[in-house]
Symmetry: C2
Subunit: 113 residues, 2 copies
């Protein structure tokens, strides 16, 4: 198992995990680009947001539920936050396991990259 | 009905609509920040990604399915793309109706804002 996010989910490599449910794990990005930078990943290995398995496994529901729970627990909802997912190298994806970035704690410029 | 996205969904104001299913509409952003800049919105008015209705109405599934369909139809999957949703003013949200931006067609820098 070489996928770094699969290994974090399996607790084979350490991470600052702050959320877990049956389907999703949330942990802090080791290369944060904002004061709050959290990654939300499905436990199952799915490559990216447009993969067929995303619909088959209803990952949208699980991920949005986790984003709601995490941002509530972390106190991010009043100040606001941004969620981002990159698909493919051209989108800026660096780990081929579906993940959403949650960014907060500073002014977030537009355009988003 | 003052929400601009509700009015686009209802065809009360014009938009370049390129996708519609029972739950979601996709149309081109009138202020594009990339060669391809598409907005994906639920037909129902829900303020943002962390709203309770998002889970209750299973909008995550509907939105991810639409993102998959739109990026396939528009030929964005090979080149890659980025999806972004802002929650609250601090996240950069300017229309209080949940929407995901799909950005593609140019190099997308990191951090995303």
């Amino acid at each position: 198992m070489s996928c770094v996010f699969c290994r974090i989910v399996a607790r084979e490599i350490p991470a600052s995990i702050l959320y877990e449910d049956d389907h999703v794990v949330g942990f802090r990005d080791v290369n944060p680009v904002a004061p709050v930078h959290i990654l939300v990943v499905p436990k199952v290995h799915v490559p990216r947001v447009d993969a067929p398995e995303v619909c088959e496994l209803k990952l949208g529901d699980h991920i949005f539920r986790a984003i709601g729970d995490i941002t509530r627990r972390e106190g991010l909802q009043e100040g606001g936050f941004r969620v981002v997912s990159n698909a493919g190298k051209g989108g800026g994806q660096t780990v081929d396991h579906l993940h959403f970035h949650i960014l907060a704690g500073r002014s977030l410029a537009w355009p988003p990259g």
